[in-house]
């Protein structure tokens, strides 16, 4: 099965049985591809006596710990085919993952993201406010997760403005002019959770006290990168929503969960507050005690699978996040597939995520 065939299927249209069949077929193929083309991966499979014949479901496939990409340079294509290397976000001194992309994988990541996000925003492009500073995308040879996130979402922007300058100060006049220019249109806002709170919300609040207000009731905000710091500041998901609405009228807010090791396959939060797995990927929650699959409602360690990675063996990974499946195929928003919640990072796990690593400076 080629990835193009999967791209033709609407992203939330398959029920449990159909999706399992699709993922099992595609992921078993990817497993074989990486065994053939990535020597390290092949040796790992040999070491565990991996037998493809025994795979009945994609949940039976082995998974690599996500931090292995920090320790090994894993790729399944020759170096000359690598067009982009992406790195995970990390705090100062932390090792970063390196993810090697060829043309096909890189392009499939962007195509997938467009399919997923369009399901929430519609396919038309909108004027876009990026709640970050322009320097994040400057270093083009090495892409940080933060830059990759911004760039990936940029495709939805018709005209774009960075709301913050390189000192992370809100460009009040720039944002004002931008909003005046596109008055009455739907505006897309994108940023990372902590930066939005620290440099956008708090500044809007301060300005409001001075009598300067912004109307973003036409806005749709997509944010990601982790809640850790906000939880420690006792800012809950609901409060984040309520306060942003109170300060600028912003009502349509979607969190997303995703990681640089599986770029493209993001998990968007729906109108009901649930993170959704599309047909391009899935989450499996595993019990920490024996790594068996947890039941719905039972918290455990998150494994992620993605149908995209062809240039590096990252199609099945065990994360260091804890989460819980809330249901399958029956979210009131109408989207099929699993929906879930992230509880946070496992104890003693490294800090990562574009929002959380940045927040360690505060």
């Amino acid at each position: 099965m080629t990835f193009d065939e999967i791209l033709n299927i609407p992203p939330y249209s398959l029920g449990k049985t159909e999706k399992e069949k699709l993922l099992t077929e595609r992921l078993a193929e990817l497993n074989k591809l990486h065994q053939e083309n990535c020597p390290e991966y092949r040796r790992m499979m040999e070491a565990i006596d991996f037998d493809a014949q025994k795979i009945k479901s994609y949940a039976d496939l082995p998974y690599l710990p996500v931090r292995l990409f920090k320790e090994l340079e894993l790729k399944s294509v020759p170096q000359e085919d690598v067009v982009k290397t992406m790195t995970s976000s990390g705090t100062t001194g932390q090792a970063v993952s390196k993810i090697y992309l060829d043309r096909a994988t890189s392009s499939n990541q962007q195509k997938t993201m467009v399919k997923i996000v369009s399901d929430f925003t519609g396919s038309s492009r909108m004027p876009m406010i990026i709640i970050d500073c322009p320097s994040v995308v400057k270093n083009r040879a090495m892409f940080s997760a933060r830059g990759a996130g911004i760039l990936g979402f940029s495709i939805f922007g018709s005209k774009k403005i960075y709301a913050l300058d390189d000192d992370m100060k809100l460009d009040v006049e720039g944002v004002r002019n931008f909003l005046d220019q596109y008055q009455g249109q739907r505006i897309l806002l994108f940023g990372f959770t902590f930066m939005i709170w620290q440099h956008f919300y708090k500044e809007l609040l301060r300005l409001k006290e001075e009598g300067v207000t912004f109307d973003l009731s036409n806005g749709i905000l997509i944010h990601g990168g982790g809640w850790k710091k906000l939880i420690s500041e006792a800012v809950s998901h609901d409060e984040f929503h309520q306060k942003l609405k109170a300060v600028c009228g912003l009502e349509h807010i979607h969190d997303y969960y995703g990681m640089v090791e599986q770029t493209g396959c993001i998990y968007m939060e729906c109108e009901c507050g649930h993170l959704h797995a599309s047909i391009f990927s899935d989450v499996i929650v595993r019990r920490p005690i024996d790594f068996s699959e947890a039941d719905i409602g039972e918290p455990g360690i998150i494994q992620v699978v993605s149908t995209i990675p062809e240039s590096y063996p990252g199609h099945s990974l065990l994360t260091e996040d804890e989460g819980v499946i809330e249901g399958i195929d029956d979210c009131p928003c109408g989207r099929k597939g699993k929906y879930f919640k992230i509880n946070g990072r496992l104890k003693n796990a490294e800090i990562r995520g574009c929002s959380d690593t940045y927040a360690t400076k505060f």
Binding site: K84, S107, V114, R125, R140, L151, I155
Partner: protein, 80 residues
Amino acid sequence: MSNIEKYNNAFIETFEITEDQLAGLKYQDIAAWDSVGHMGLIAALEDAFDIMMDTDDIIDLSSYEKGKEILAKDEYGVEF
């Protein structure tokens, strides 16, 4: 300026290249045409022809020649 001149200029100015490099040029062939450069090219083309491209077309625009094909479609109506 003719449409082909506008089209060529978008590439030449965005990627800082010369006209003789255009034929056969593909995404990721030169350092300047990476994913950041790509969004710059799209912005330049949209300004030059006063159009708004679909996300699918932005992704499909993978070479100098392919871009002409895309812009010639009915919804953009650029004649070369």
